[in-house]
Symmetry: C2
């Protein structure tokens, strides 16, 4: 299930020129999104890829499809790390490490990954969301069973917290701040529920 085959499932473009253009588009998108954020002009991406707008839209019906494509390899890497961590010794430590990696992932994309992950509304990128949720679920389950993570927590909540940290610190360039916030959240994960006042 975490074998990651699903990610590489998309192999639609048959003709070699189509394949090439697709790759160019993803490369250009990676650049432009990095420069201008997730709201960057798709026209500009097409231009920089050296193709017409029509070509872009045939390959990627909407913005989130393109975002998914850009993020997919990063997500693959997260998946690989999750698999490694799932068989590690310390379940708590595994969860923590993965969440750190996930935070970095979410931040690096200026929240564009997060946008996708929070709202799987887009037709094309639901598995993006699913995969991440699966990873988190696996690691959290284990940390609840064999570690000290509190039981009343869902993977969904945890991801929302971390995504929130990423989103709310994209403009903040003080180093270490997001990590500090993550530490706070991790404290909460291991703490037991407070008595309500």
């Amino acid at each position: 299930m975490t074998n990651g085959r699903a990610g590489a499932a998309a192999e639609p473009p048959r003709r070699t020129d189509a394949r090439l253009n697709r790759e160019r588009l993803v490369a250009a998108a990676r650049e432009v999104f990095a420069e201008a954020g997730p709201g960057a002009s798709l026209n500009e991406i097409a231009r920089r890829a050296g193709v017409g707008p029509g070509t872009l839209y045939r390959h990627f019906p909407d913005r989130s499809a393109l975002l998914s494509a850009v993020l997919s390899d990063r997500i693959e890497r997260l998946g690989a790390q999750a698999e490694r961590l799932l068989v590690s010794e310390d379940a708590d430590e595994a969860l923590e490490q993965w969440l750190r990696a996930f935070l970095a992932h979410a931040r690096v994309n200026q929240g564009m990954g997060s946008a996708l992950l929070v709202e799987p509304a887009g037709e094309s990128g639901p598995d993006c969301h699913r995969r991440i949720l699966d990873m988190a679920t696996g690691l959290l389950d284990r940390a609840q069973l064999h570690g000290s993570a509190r039981a009343d927590l869902t993977a969904d909540d945890l991801l929302h917290l971390v995504i929130g940290i990423a989103l709310s610190t994209t403009q903040d360039d003080r180093p270490g701040r997001p990590e500090f916030l993550l530490d706070l959240a991790l404290d909460a994960v291991h703490g037991s529920p407070r008595r309500k006042g």
Copy 2:
């Protein structure tokens, strides 16, 4: 002092028609933003206010200026509550209550308030951000001094956490979820730093 001096500081429009148009614009913006979110068309707002686009842009040089105006009364209310809570008995409880109110505030605006608060980049809306930060600082200071809030926390961090919760749950309509996440964050606020693994 809750008379809104600071908030009403902007009193530029002298002529009565200008004043009126400004109010119409804010009212229309409140409606349209509520319907279509913070990315709503400014043209549409102008149309619904019964003024030309030019008029809108003279009163509010950019989108965030308009957002600020819409939010300002809500922020006034938050400020009033902060003042009440600042002289309440239980400093921890005061902070908690205010954060709950702030979370509701941030969520109600579909994250548009949050967007403003996180990035005071816009020329027009920095005091929006300042005021909120001041409120949070006051309440947190007191909770650290007289309550049980941990000392290594800044108001900025706290706001980021809560804003993050708001942002990452705007699409989530399961009731109580955001509050649960806030509870988690509050646990962290009162917990002591964990030993690193």
